[in-house]
């Protein structure tokens, strides 16, 4: 008898694939030149230091080779990418003031509804610019700042200058340099010492224009003893041309502060998602990453946590779902740079229909970082024999007083588990569904409720007798 296999449907994308009319107010020439970078800088009325940083980044980009590891990036032709697309809208503080067509796009994604029900503030970016931003007045009264990066650059220039691309310097890699040259939009959050933001803030990034790039910059500073949950969502309709996302996220978690950074990435399958995220965590601080990677043609995403203060902690929870035509290379990096820091990395990946899921990580324990504890667990489920699942972890330990453990599993749904469940009266298809849901459950429960529901909806399962 042929073995049965669980068939998991592709992620339902109809919602995300609705295209808005491509009618920007301004679209830069495709390609990447000094003129284009100067033009973006001028249009944004950058201060001189920012223009200089953009040009220095461009120089770094031009002299930096493509990565010698990871997915094939040959489909990316910067000559065919417009790096700046200004939507035909001004930034608004009320949804009513956002042009109908753009508002419709966010309505379909449920952003205004979510804002009413469960968010303390929302930012919405369409192509290269933020078109909507709001924050509850109770938070502004406590000194919380949540605004778009351009406004932050004008109104809080000193803070931005002290932190912007300091954690992710342009020299870090080619796409960090690209970001430095052409960044536009993104969010700035400042939470003063001791303030607990109890309801999450959410920024949503929508790239509507074909053949374009989105390069938003997110900068969050959570001061001593403060706390925040920030949610980031992103999607785009599918085009036949390649789109590029090279955002940058810099997170500063001060002494005793807590930051949860949740992301559901659901880019279309023509997207190259080459994003960089990094957090610096001071004494006793906590960074929690919750990361769902579902979309894009290629993803290279490895949030990094630098635990710089004694007792700082990192918890990383990630799920990756790679279907047909997708190569999702994801993972995490943790640098234990101080004593008694700890980290837990927990990931699940599913690959099907020729999809490639790669878990890649680096854990470093610096000399002198005594009492470090690190536990990594990654599990991969392959649903057919045309897909791939690779696990590429590296641990670099330079301190004997450390406890570092890594466990990984690759495999299929176990026959024993199916047998066990069916012998207890559960139908086989339900048993298989239970196992797959159980596989991603540790991740689902770390997601905000509405995203957990969305993830369950995204992963629709059905059973076919001999499929695969």
């Amino acid at each position: 008898m042929a073995k049965q296999k669980t068939f998991i449907e592709d992620i339902e994308r109809a919602l995300y694939d609705v295209r808005g009319e491509d009618r920007p107010r301004y679209r830069s020439e495709s390609g990447l030149t000094e003129e284009i970078v100067r033009d973006i800088s001028e249009r944004k009325r950058d201060p001189a230091w920012m223009t200089e940083m953009r040009l220095e980044s461009l120089a770094v980009y031009n002299e930096t080779p493509l990565p010698a590891w990871g997915p094939d990036l040959s489909a990316l032709d910067m000559e065919k990418i417009a790096t700046y697309v200004q939507p035909d809208a001004q930034m608004a503080g009320r949804w009513e003031d956002v042009p109908d067509e753009i508002r419709d796009a966010f309505d379909r994604l449920g952003i205004p509804e979510a804002e009413k029900e469960s968010l303390a503030g929302v930012g919405a970016q369409y192509d290269s610019e933020v078109v909507y931003h709001s924050i509850q007045s109770s938070l502004t009264k406590q000194g919380v700042i949540y605004t778009d990066m351009e406004t932050a650059l004008r109104e809080h220039e000193d803070i931005v200058r002290a932190h912007f691309m300091k954690l992710v310097p342009p020299k870090d890699h080619k796409f960090a340099a690209l970001h430095g040259a052409v960044w536009s939009g993104g969010s700035f959050v400042y939470v003063p010492a001791g303030v607990e933001v109890k309801i999450p803030l959410q920024s949503y990034f929508r790239l509507n224009a074909p053949g374009a790039g989105q390069f938003e910059h997110t900068l969050i500073i959570v001061e001593k003893g403060a706390s925040l949950h920030f949610i980031e969502g992103c999607s785009a309709p599918k085009y036949s041309v390649t789109n590029l996302h090279a955002g940058c996220v810099e997170l500063y978690v001060r002494e005793g502060a807590r930051l949860r950074y949740s992301t559901i990435e659901n880019w279309s399958k023509n997207m190259m998602n080459l994003n960089t995220k990094r957090a610096l965590v001071e004494k006793g601080g906590l960074i929690e990453w919750v990361s769902g990677s579902f979309g894009s043609r290629v993803s290279m995403l490895y949030p990094t946590s630098i635990l710089s203060g004694e007792g700082a902690r990192c918890e990383f929870t990630g799920v990756t779902f790679a279907g047909r035509g997708q190569h999702l290379d994801t993972g995490a990096t943790v640098v234990h740079a101080a004593p008694r820091t700890s980290s837990v990395i927990n990931t699940r990946s599913i690959s099907k229909d020729g999809g490639v899921a790669v878990y890649r990580s680096g854990v470093k324990v610096a000399a002198g970082a005594k009492g470090v504890k690190c536990a990594v667990n990654c599990e991969s489920l392959m649903l057919d024999d045309v897909s791939r699942s690779d696990t590429i972890p590296v641990m670099d330990v330079r301190e004997d007083d450390a406890d570092v453990g890594h466990e990984a599993k690759i495999g299929r749904i176990s026959d024993e588990a199916i047998y066990y469940l069916t012998s207890r009266g559960i139908k086989e298809d339900e048993a298989r569904a239970m196992i797959v849901r159980g596989f991603v459950e540790p991740i689902a429960k770390a997601l905000p409720m509405e995203y957990a529901v969305e993830m369950n909806n995204l992963i629709n399962m059905e059973l076919e007798g001999t499929r695969g």
Binding site: V394, H406, I410
Partner: protein, 282 residues
């Protein structure tokens, strides 16, 4: 010295990762490889069972190619017992036919710098590789290992089990790859690494890769890096052993399962004595 230290790539992990981690390549001094002898070829005829012990001491480079016929088994013990201050490089390639089996035991001790490569190709259906390795390094020693088990046949079984201790300012990299090639239906792979850190100045890097192009497999790996088990040490010292003796006992106990596979009693004694002496010196 600069010219003498020109290095060439001696081995690579099958899939590269971030360069800053420094694990993509095993590099060996060009000078060391200048005197590379021809690879020694060992063929085990189908159905035969053999045992082979290879001890390398003064030779800078060794290369062994092993072909194991259908249903044959080779118990291969390879010990690198390098003289102080020397650099050396060893490479073993194994090809396994249907239902062939290798039981491989490697020991790396001594020298200034050891490169150790193992490439096992489980081509035949039902072939299996049982690989165990032991190392101990102290002072300024560097050990650089790259083990690959490539599972191609159906129902293959590969196990990599590596353990060792690092003291002084020793540095070690162990890369262990279980590579499930598409079509290796029903195969099982296990990798386990345990590293005991005996000094605050050591550098340990571990890269346990698991690559899979086949769904019908069961692959697992586990790595643990840390100091000696405090509870065991406490137990032993509370029974009158000095801390140094307790440490020696715990390290040797961990090495015992590997030493049991070394059938040449004199060689096993030599390895045990070597580790004991180094632990006492440390």
């Amino acid at each position: 010295m600069a010219a003498a230290e020109k290095e060439i790539v001696y081995g690579r992990i099958p899939v590269p990762t971030w360069r800053w981690l420094g694990v993509n390549e095993v590099r060996v001094s060009e000078e060391v490889l200048q005197e590379t002898p021809a690879a020694r070829l060992v063929t085990i005829p189908a159905g035969e069972t053999r045992e082979l012990t290879v001890v390398t001491r003064d030779e800078a480079v060794s290369e062994l190619h092993v072909e194991i016929g259908a249903g044959a088994e080779l118990r291969l013990i390879r010990a690198r017992l390098a003289s102080d201050g020397t650099q050396c490089a060893d490479k073993v390639k194994v090809a396994l036919a249907e239902n062939a089996r290798i039981v491989y035991t490697a020991v790396n001790l001594g020298g200034a710098r050891i490169a150790d490569l193992l490439d096992v190709d489980l081509v035949g259906d039902g072939s299996s590789a049982d690989v165990v390795a032991l190392y101990y390094a102290d002072g300024q020693q560097k050990i650089d290992m790259n083990y690959i088990a490539r599972q191609r046949g159906k129902n293959t079984d590969a196990s990599l089990d590596v353990q060792g201790g690092l003291a002084g300012r020793a540095e070690k990299i162990f890369r262990g790859t279980l590579d499930f090639v598409r079509g290796t239906v029903g195969s099982v792979g296990r990798e386990r690494e345990s590293v005991t850190l005996l000094s605050p100045n050591v550098v340990n890097r571990s890269a346990p890769l698991m690559l899979s192009g086949e769904a019908e497999v069961d692959g697992r790996h586990a790595t643990s890096v840390g100091r000696l088990d405090e509870e065991k040490l406490y137990y032993l010292t509370s029974r009158g052993l000095s801390e140094a003796d307790a440490r020696r006992l715990v390290v040797l106990a961990a090495a015992a399962p590997v030493l049991e596979r070394v059938t040449d009693a004199a060689l096993a004694d030599e390895i045990r004595t070597f580790i004991e002496r180094r632990l006492s010196d440390g």
